[in-house]
């Protein structure tokens, strides 16, 4: 049997990816350029008994998905920069209370309301540092419609596996462009179930580390009662200020991601074996980079591309290795130099990092990248 295909927008693909992953609760507040996610899910979720809620604002939408997730639902919200700013307080709550959820954020111009219909990649730092305090961060940056579908499924899986919020951040170009997509059959792509308690309710503690760094999470309404708070907490979920517990719990929360970087970080290496110049790129910008690298090769320049698919945790190890091999790193991004800072940190001064930074609402074109590749001596 031939597989089902469609010609879809990135945002529409994201909604269908969420459904494949088992999303049964969505709460959001519409905002350009992510509204199509809400449009699709408002039509599709009720058909299978799922719930769609349009909340009064972005903060409430974030609160709603955290609450729903605690009842065992697989949850999603979608937004764009200004909404992401508003959600930050509760994203931190999701991190400390360890509540699985997926935040889909389409990057448009900023700060504030910025340029609603223009593309941008300026929310990548907000994905890690937007909410205060030390906390784990996972952020995926797809570059095509198919990948947006696939990565939304992976985001749900990672959020369940590590019991933490996960962000998917396409730029506006990826979110709004249309391409052919092939849908996987049911069961073809693995869907990670939530780890639930094996002990009876009276013995259950929501943060019991004897079960490992990711303790099982019971669903409210299933007979298990427990306390949830934004304060630093003990194994039973009640607040504590005991120094040793707070230190150990903070470290564990961050370790959930840091100790599993190789399981989480994904990337694509393109023509890197003999490359003198590496273009590091992500999202739609990587498509311009691939074009430029191909043209450079035709002109006899040994260029290659390292495409970041997982922005957080950052692929430190891979970039450090590249920095020891190439003569220069080129980073095109639709912000004023965010990924660039991470690359400089990883390159440790071994090679120059040359940025192309564009925030005028226009994509970075292959010619700009090619010109920069040629600057590497």
């Amino acid at each position: 049997m031939s597989k089902k295909v469609a010609f879809l927008q990135g945002n529409e693909a994201a909604a269908h990816g969420a459904l494949y992953a088992g999303c049964n609760f969505f709460a959001g507040y519409p905002i350009t350029p992510s509204t199509e996610v809400s449009e699709v899910l408002s039509a599709e979720l009720p058909k299978t008994g799922g719930k769609f809620l349009q909340m009064e604002d972005e903060i409430a939408a974030m609160a709603a998905i955290l609450g729903a997730s605690l009842t065992g639902a697989k949850v999603l919200t979608s937004t764009s920069g200004p909404g992401l700013s508003l959600k930050q307080e509760l994203i931190g709550y999701g991190c400390i209370a360890e509540i699985p959820c997926v935040v889909y954020n389409v990057m448009r111009g900023g700060p504030s309301t910025g340029m609603p219909t223009g593309p941008s990649q300026s929310d990548v730092m907000c994905a890690k540092w937007g909410t205060h305090g030390d906390h784990p961060a996972i952020c995926l940056v797809p570059a095509s419609v198919q990948e947006t579908y696939d990565e939304v499924i992976r985001a749900f899986n990672l959020s369940e596996k590590y019991r933490t919020p996960v962000m998917v951040m396409p730029d506006e170009i990826v979110a709004h462009m249309r391409e052919r997509i092939v849908f996987p059959e049911p069961g073809e792509v693995a869907v990670t179930p939530r780890k639930t308690p094996t002990v009876p309710p009276e013995q259950y503690k929501p943060y019991d580390t004897s079960f490992g760094d990711v303790p099982p999470l019971a669903a409210f309404g299933s007979g298990y009662k427990f306390h949830v708070t934004g304060l630093n907490k003990m194994a039973d979920g009640f607040p504590t200020t005991k120094a040793d517990i707070v230190q150990a719990e903070e470290e564990r929360q961050v370790r959930k991601v840091d100790a599993n970087i190789d399981d989480i970080v994904t990337f694509e290496e393109y023509l890197l074996d003999d490359a003198d110049v590496v273009v590091v790129a992500y999202g739609s910008t990587s498509r311009s980079a691939r074009y430029a690298v191909n043209v450079a090769r035709e002109q006899g320049i040994k260029a290659g591309m390292f495409r970041i698919k997982t922005f957080w945790p950052f692929p430190d190890k891979q970039i450090k290795a590249l920095a020891g091999k190439v003569k220069g790193i080129v980073i095109p991004e639709m912000n004023l130099g965010m990924c660039s800072l991470e690359l400089e940190r990883c390159a440790q001064g071994k090679v120059p990092v040359l940025g192309i930074f564009r925030v005028d609402g226009e994509p970075i074109n292959p010619d700009q990248i090619l010109a920069k590749i040629k600057e590497v001596k």
Partner: protein, 182 residues
């Protein structure tokens, strides 16, 4: 690698994004090629400039936006003034002859013009399908997808009740463009 670039431009509300989507769908779902459609538009729901770009190729498409355009549709004077700069020498420029009166210097492009909106209004019977008249014309002029596959894409993209209307619009657009370019 073959890379063919089309741009549908005009003002918001003229249905040009839809026309671009249908062209790309025809290529990628029915013609067996690869296609990417993208768009840019202002914050207004109607009015303001609007453009939809379609890249068609036999292989994978990396950069999703236009580099040098093979075929341009301009449905307003503003769009024609703004978007001909990166049209290839020898490229195709299709304009609505009632709305675009100042044409770029002749010789560089193949310019085809006919009253697209008035054709929809008078020959098809509804102004609202002007975008499908234009699409039919672009399909005829560019030859990137077959008439049959383009028609399939049109019919799978419009509501049941409007199938005949759109079929007629597509067909008239196709024929008018052939006549205008003969």
């Amino acid at each position: 690698m073959s890379r063919y670039e089309l741009r549908f431009s005009g003002s918001g509300g003229q249905g040009l994004i839809t026309a671009g989507i249908i062209m790309a769908k025809a290529a990628s779902i029915y013609e067996g090629k690869q296609a990417v459609q993208s768009q840019s538009y202002g914050p207004e729901a109607r009015g303001g400039s609007s453009k939809s770009e379609v890249i068609i190729s036999d292989g994978p498409i990396d950069y999703p936006k236009a580099t040098t355009v093979d075929a341009l549709l301009a449905m307003t004077q503003e769009a024609c003034d703004k978007y001909t700069h990166d049209l290839k020498d020898g490229g195709i420029l299709l304009v609505d002859s009632d709305l675009v009166t100042k044409l770029p210097s002749a010789g560089k492009f193949r310019i085809i013009s006919f009253p697209i909106i008035n054709t929809a209004k008078n020959d098809v019977g509804r102004e609202i399908v002007a975008n499908i008249v234009a699409l039919g014309a672009m399909v005829a002029l560019t030859g990137q997808v077959s008439r049959e596959n383009a028609e399939k894409a049109v019919l799978s993209s419009v509501p049941e009740a409007f199938i005949e209307l759109n079929k007629k619009a597509f067909s008239i657009g196709y024929e008018k463009a052939l006549a205008a370019s003969a």
